[in-house]
C-alpha cells in the first residue's frame, strides 16, 4: 500500500467519521458548539545538512491548517482536533461519546524523521578512508596490504522515513451493569529508506565495509479486545492482544566473496527485520481501590514468534513463551501509615533451532540455545505521614534473576552470570508547606547490592542520592531545582577459553552519574514573564578494558598463563570515560498591549564525551599497538542552539493572528558532516466561533 493511498484512506475515514458524527449529533444539538479554525503558511529554508538540526521536520514549505471543534447535545459529544503542518506532518484526533455508554476514539497521525547518511566516499570531508593499509615490517610478503576498504553503492541517496499511525478505540458500557467491552486497533507503518552499513567478512585478506540503501516499508498491526467489570467485592479484567509485524520490502541481497573454505562465494540475503507476531492474554482481579486494604493480582501469558521469510537460510525457528505474574497488597490502617507488598514474577523461555544451513556456509552450523530468563521480585514499601507537611517513605526490594543455557565452557567468550541476586534499600522524605504551598522538598537515597552482577549492566554496590525542591517566596517569582548523584561499583572476572583451560581476567569498573537542574521563573513587571532553565548531566566511568580475545599465546614470546596478559590479550587498566552535557533555555513573554503578546525564546546545548585509553603493547613481532588516536576517534563535541521570536495578536474578540520565526542549528566541532541549520517562518490566522 503506497503512502499516498494510506494517507488518502485515513483522511477519507476521518472525514467519514466526522460526517457520521455530525449526522448523529446535529439533530439533537441543544448547545452551541465551539469551533476554532485557523490556517497559515510555513516557509522553511535550510543550510548544509539539516537532518540533525531538525530531526523530526521535513523542512519543506507548506500551508498549515488546524481545527478544534466540540459539537454536542445533552447526550452526545463529538470532539475533533486536527493540525496539518505538511503532507508528512499532521494529526487528526477525534473522540465521540454517547452518554458515556459508548466512547470511540480515532487518531490519525504522521511524522517525519530525518536519518543520517554516513559518507563512505573517498575524498569527502569526514568520510571514511577509501583504503586502510597495514604494513608489517616483520612478515615477509605482508607489505602495504589493504586491510579494510570502503564502498558506498548509493552515495548520493538521502535517508528519511515517515511513520503513520492509525488508532481506533471503542469502549462500550453494558446496560445496567458496571462492565465494559473494549476493542482497539492500532496500525503503524514506516516507509522510507535508511543506510544499510555492513561488512563482507573476507578479513583474511581485507574487510570490505560497505554501505547501500535499504528501502523501508514496515507495518505493525495490533488488535486488542478486553472486558472489564465491577462485581461487587472485586473487579475483573480479561484482555487479549494480538500484534504482528510485516516487512513489505524484500530483504536486500548482495554478492559475498569466499573465505578460506569457511564461506562460499555467492549472492545472499542481508540480515532481515523478520516478520513476527505476538499474542498475549491477561487476567487481572483487584479489590475496591477505596479501601484500606487493596489487593490486586494479574497473570499474563504470551508468545512471540519469528516468521522469517529468508530464502538462503534455513530453518529459521525462534519463539519465546513467557508468563508474568504480578500481585500487590496495600494496607492503610490509618491516615498516617501505609504498607505495600509487591510481588513480580517473569518467566521467559526461548526456543530456537539447533542447527542452521546457509547458502554461503558449506557445513551445517550449530546454534546455541538462547538464554532463558526468570525473575522473581519482592518489594515492601512503607510510608509514614509524620504530619500534614511531611511524609517519609522506605522501600526494601529483592530481585533474583536466573539465566538458563549460560555457556559455562566460555567457548564463545564472556557470559552473563547464571544467577543474580539484587537487594535494594531506598528511603526518602517529602516535605510540602501546606499553608502557603510555597516550599516543597523531595529527597531520596537508594542503596543497591548485587551478589553477582552482570558486568556493565549491573553493579555489586550502588548508591544514589537525589534532592529536588521548588520554592515560591512571592507571587512574582519562584525557583525549582533538582540534583542527583550516584555511583556504581562493579568488578567481574571475564573468562576466556584458552587452549590449556579457562582463564580469567579481573576487570574493575566504577560509574558515577550526576545531574543538576535549576529553573527560575519571574514576573518582573506587570506584563512581563521570564523563565530560565539550566541543566547539567555528567557520566564518568573508570574501568579496565580488554583488548583481544584470542585463545593462543603469542608465538616466540614467553608467556605465563597466570599473568594478566596472555599473548593476544591485554588489559588497559583504569580507562576513563567522561560525558558532560550543559543545557540552557530562556523564555521571555511581553504583553505589549491588551491585544498583542511578544514571545522570545532561546536554547543552547553543549555535549562532550571522550574516553582515554593509554597503552603500549607488542603484538607478535609485528607491531606496537598503542592507544594514540583512539580518544580522538571516539570524541564527541556537539553544540545545538536555537532561537524563536513570535507575536500573537487578538485582532478582534474572535479573530487572532500570529507570526513566528524560529532558527535551529547543529554543529559538531569534530566533524562537519552533519552540521546544518533550519529557519522556519510561520504566519497563521484563526477564528473562534
Amino acid at each position: 500500500m503506497n503512502k499516498y493511498r494510506f494517507t488518502g484512506y485515513g483522511v477519507k475515514f476521518g472525514r467519514l467519521l466526522f460526517v457520521i458524527g455530525c449526522a448523529v449529533l446535529l439533530p439533537g444539538v441543544t448547545f452551541a458548539s465551539s469551533l476554532v479554525a485557523g490556517g497559515g503558511y510555513s516557509v522553511v529554508s535550510d543550510e548544509d545538512t539539516p537532518g540533525r538540526a531538525a530531526e523530526y521536520r521535513e523542512n519543506e514549505s507548506s500551508p498549515t491548517f488546524d481545527l478544534q471543534a466540540l459539537i454536542g447535545s445533552d447526550k452526545k459529544h463529538l470532539y475533533l482536533d486536527t493540525a496539518y503542518n505538511s503532507e508528512n506532518d499532521y494529526r487528526v484526533e477525534s473522540s465521540f461519546d454517547v452518554m458515556t455508554v459508548l466512547h470511540v476514539n480515532l487518531r490519525l497521525e504522521k511524522l517525519f524523521h530525518n536519518l543520517d547518511h554516513i559518507p563512505y566516499r573517498p575524498g569527502t570531508t569526514d568520510s571514511r578512508n577509501s583504503a586502510v593499509t597495514y604494513n608489517s615490517p616483520f612478515i615477509a610478503g605482508d607489505d602495504v596490504v589493504t586491510r579494510a576498504d570502503y564502498a558506498d553503492q548509493n552515495p548520493a541517496d538521502e535517508y528519511s522515513l515517515d511513520a503513520q499511525t492509525l488508532q481506533l478505540d471503542m469502549r462500550y458500557k453494558l446496560p445496567d451493569i458496571p462492565a465494559h467491552i473494549n476493542l482497539g486497533y492500532w496500525r503503524y507503518q514506516k516507509q522510507g529508506s535508511r543506510q544499510l552499513r555492513f561488512m563482507d567478512e573476507d578479513c583474511a585478506t581485507a574487510c570490505h565495509l560497505q554501505s547501500r540503501t535499504r528501502k523501508l516499508d514496515r507495518v505493525t498491526n495490533e488488535f486488542t479486545a478486553s472486558a472489564d467489570g465491577h462485581l461487587g467485592f472485586f473487579d475483573l479484567i480479561v484482555s487479549y492482544l494480538y500484534r504482528d509485524f510485516k516487512d513489505q520490502e524484500d530483504t536486500p541481497r548482495d554478492t559475498f566473496s569466499a573465505i578460506d573454505g569457511r564461506r562460499l562465494a555467492g549472492s545472499a540475503e542481508h540480515s532481515e527485520d523478520p516478520d513476527s507476531k505476538m499474542q498475549e492474554a491477561t487476567l487481572a482481579v483487584h479489590t475496591s481501590l477505596s479501601g484500606g486494604v487493596v489487593a490486586n493480582l494479574s497473570y499474563t501469558l504470551g508468545k512471540r514468534e519469528n516468521q522469517s521469510l529468508l530464502k538462503t537460510v534455513s530453518p529459521v525457528e525462534a519463539e519465546v513463551d513467557y508468563y508474568k505474574a504480578a500481585g500487590d497488597f496495600a494496607f492503610t490502617p490509618s491516615d498516617t501509615v501505609s504498607m505495600i507488598l509487591r510481588l513480580r514474577q517473569l518467566d521467559l523461555n526461548y526456543d530456537n533451532n539447533d542447527a542452521i544451513t546457509s547458502s554461503l556456509i558449506p557445513a551445517v552450523a550449530p546454534v546455541s540455545e538462547n538464554l532463558d530468563l526468570k525473575e522473581n521480585i519482592i518489594e515492601l514499601i512503607s510510608t509514614w505521614r509524620v504530619s500534614r507537611n511531611l511524609q517519609l517513605k522506605a522501600l526494601l526490594k529483592r530481585g533474583e534473576t536466573q539465566r538458563d543455557n549460560v555457556d559455562t565452557t566460555f567457548a564463545s567468550g564472556w557470559q552473563p552470570p547464571a544467577k543474580e541476586v539484587k537487594s535494594t534499600f531506598k528511603m526518602g522524605g517529602y516535605y510540602k508547606s501546606r499553608n502557603d504551598r510555597r516550599l516543597s522538598v523531595n529527597t531520596t537515597y537508594t542503596f543497591e547490592k548485587n551478589a553477582a552482577p552482570a558486568y556493565a549492566t549491573s553493579s555489586y554496590d550502588s548508591h544514589e542520592l537525589s534532592v529536588s525542591t521548588s520554592f515560591q517566596p512571592a507571587l512574582s517569582w519562584g525557583v525549582n531545582a533538582s540534583a542527583r548523584a550516584g555511583v556504581d561499583l562493579a568488578n567481574y572476572a571475564e573468562s576466556l577459553l584458552i587452549s590449556s583451560g579457562v582463564y580469567a581476567f579481573e576487570r574493575n569498573r566504577e560509574r558515577q552519574k550526576q545531574n543538576v537542574n535549576f529553573g527560575i521563573w519571574t514576573v518582573p513587571a506587570q506584563r512581563v514573564s521570564l523563565n530560565f532553565n539550566y541543566g547539567f548531566f555528567r557520566t564518568a566511568i573508570t574501568q579496565d578494558l580488554l583488548f583481544g580475545n584470542d585463545a593462543d599465546p603469542q608465538s616466540g614470546l614467553t608467556t605465563s598463563l597466570t599473568a594478566v596478559e596472555s599473548g593476544h590479550t591485554f588489559m588497559d587498566r583504569d580507562v576513563e570515560f567522561l560525558q558532560q552535557i550543559h543545557m540552557l533555555s530562556a523564555d521571555l513573554g511581553v504583553q505589549l498591549s491588551d491585544l498583542v503578546r511578544l514571545r522570545l525564546a532561546g536554547r543552547y546545548v553543549r555535549a562532550t564525551a571522550e574516553y582515554s585509553p593509554d597503552f603500549d603493547y607488542q603484538v607478535e613481532m609485528d607491531y606496537l599497538a598503542t592507544a594514540e588516536g583512539l580518544a580522538d576517534i571516539g570524541r564527541i563535541d556537539l553544540v545545538q542552539s536555537g532561537a524563536e521570536v513570535g507575536i500573537d495578536w487578538r485582532v478582534m474578540e474572535r479573530l487572532r493572528c500570529g507570526a513566528e520565526i524560529s532558527y535551529v542549528d547543529y554543529h559538531d566541532k569534530n566533524m562537519s558532516t552533519f552540521d546544518g541549520s533550519v529557519t522556519r517562518s510561520m504566519v497563521n490566522i484563526a477564528y473562534v466561533w
Binding site: R197, S290, T300, V313, I541, G567, T569
Partner: protein, 332 residues
C-alpha cells in the same frame, strides 16, 4: 502447565461472575475492605449541611456558568443522566453538601461561602484521591488496577495533581499537553529531551503515556508491557525477533544500551561507541582468531575498528543469519 493454570483462573473468575451478575445492587456499589475512617470523615463534608443539587447551587451564582457548561458537556456531566446507570456526579459529589455555602447568597453577584465546602486543596493527597476512587471503584476503571501500590500513589501524588476537571469539557490530559504536565515534576526528563537524539515528545508526536502508565503497572518505572523490550518493540517491532542469534539477554531490556528520553549519542545510546561495546566486550587486536590483524597498528586501522562497532556488527539486536564461523558474529 501455565496454560492450564491460566484456564483454571479464567474459569474460576467466570464462575464468580454468575452469582455476581444476579445481584445488581451489590455489583453497582463500592465495597471497600477496611476503609480508612480518617479519610472517609475528611471527604464527607459538613455534617450540618444538606445537599441542594446543581441547580440550586449554580442558579444563584453565574460566576460558575462556564465551569458548569464545560462540566455538563464532559464525560462526568453525562453521568447526571439516570439512564446511564452510572453513579451520580455533580458539584456536590466532590465539593461536599452545599446548603451552608449558599445560605447567604441572595442576589446574583453575592459570593458563596466557599469555606463551608470541602477544602479540597488542603486535604491529604490520599483523601483527594479517595473522592475520585469512590466512584471509579464502583464503575470499573481497569487503568487503575495497579494504582494503590504505584510510585505516584506512594509519593503523595493525587488524581487532581494531573487531572484538572474544570479547565474545559475535555477532562483527560490531551497528547499535546501531557509532556508539559509531566515535566512540572520531572524537570530532569525535560532537559534530557533537549538532546539532539530524542524521541519526538517535544514535537508532540509521542507522549509520555505511550510508554508509561502514570496510574501504575506491573513493570518497573511504570512502563507498560511485561518487559521493557515489549514497550519499545511496539513501535520498533523490527527488533522484537525473537532471533535465532540473540544478543544474550541484553535485548530484553533496551535500557542496557539505550536511554529512551534523549542522548547526544545517535541513536539514543547511553554512551557512545566504541566505549559502549568495550564495557562488556574485548576490543580488536592482532591474532589468529576473531581479531583483525593490525587493528591497533595505525590511525586508519583504528578508525576502521574503533569508531562505530555497528558498521560491521550491523545486526546488533539479533540476527537469523550465521556468520562465517557459524557462530554469533552478528554481522551483515
Amino acid at each position: 502447565m501455565k496454560k492450564k493454570l491460566f484456564l483454571l483462573l479464567a474459569v474460576t473468575a467466570l464462575a464468580a461472575l454468575i452469582p455476581a451478575c444476579s445481584d445488581l445492587s451489590s455489583m453497582r456499589s463500592d465495597t471497600p475492605l477496611l476503609p480508612v475512617k480518617e479519610y472517609e470523615r475528611m471527604i464527607v463534608g459538613r455534617l450540618d449541611a444538606d445537599y441542594v443539587g446543581n441547580d440550586a447551587c449554580l442558579a444563584k451564582c453565574h460566576a460558575h456558568d462556564k465551569i458548569a457548561d464545560d462540566f455538563h458537556n464532559s464525560v462526568h456531566g453525562a453521568q447526571v443522566q439516570v439512564e446511564t446507570g452510572l453513579p451520580l456526579v455533580n458539584c456536590e459529589s466532590c465539593h461536599g453538601p452545599g446548603s451552608l455555602a449558599i445560605e447567604k447568597v441572595q442576589h446574583d453577584g453575592d459570593k458563596c461561602s466557599s469555606d463551608r465546602l470541602l477544602n479540597l486543596r488542603n486535604l491529604p493527597k490520599q483523601a483527594q484521591s479517595l473522592i475520585c476512587l469512590k466512584c471509579h471503584s464502583a464503575s470499573s476503571t481497569p487503568v487503575l488496577t495497579y494504582w494503590s501500590g504505584s510510585t505516584h500513589a506512594t509519593s503523595d501524588v493525587s488524581c487532581s495533581d494531573c487531572h484538572a476537571l474544570h479547565v474545559g469539557p475535555q477532562q483527560k490530559v490531551s497528547r499535546q499537553e501531557m509532556s508539559e504536565l509531566c515535566f512540572k515534576c520531572h524537570q530532569q526528563v525535560r532537559m534530557e529531551f533537549a538532546n539532539f537524539s530524542h524521541h519526538p515528545v517535544p514535537e508532540h508526536k509521542v507522549m509520555c503515556a505511550d510508554c508509561h502508565n502514570p496510574h501504575g503497572t506491573a513493570n518497573d518505572k511504570m512502563l507498560k508491557g511485561a518487559t521493557t523490550r515489549q514497550v519499545c518493540t511496539r513501535c520498533h517491532m523490527e527488533y522484537q525477533g525473537p532471533f535465532v542469534y540473540e544478543h544474550a539477554d541484553l535485548t530484553e531490556n533496551c535500557s542496557n544500551c539505550h536511554t529512551a528520553h534523549g542522548s547526544p549519542n545517535e541513536p539514543l545510546l547511553d554512551v557512545g561507541q566504541p566505549f559502549l561495546c568495550l564495557q562488556c566486550h574485548a576490543g580488536h587486536l592482532g591474532g589468529n582468531n576473531h581479531s583483525a590483524r593490525g587493528s591497533l597498528s595505525s590511525r586508519s586501522m583504528k578508525e576502521a575498528f574503533f569508531s562505530r562497532c555497528t558498521d560491521c556488527h550491523s545486526a546488533i539486536h539479533g540476527s537469523d543469519i550465521p556468520s562465517k564461523s557459524g557462530g554469533t558474529f552478528i554481522a551483515r
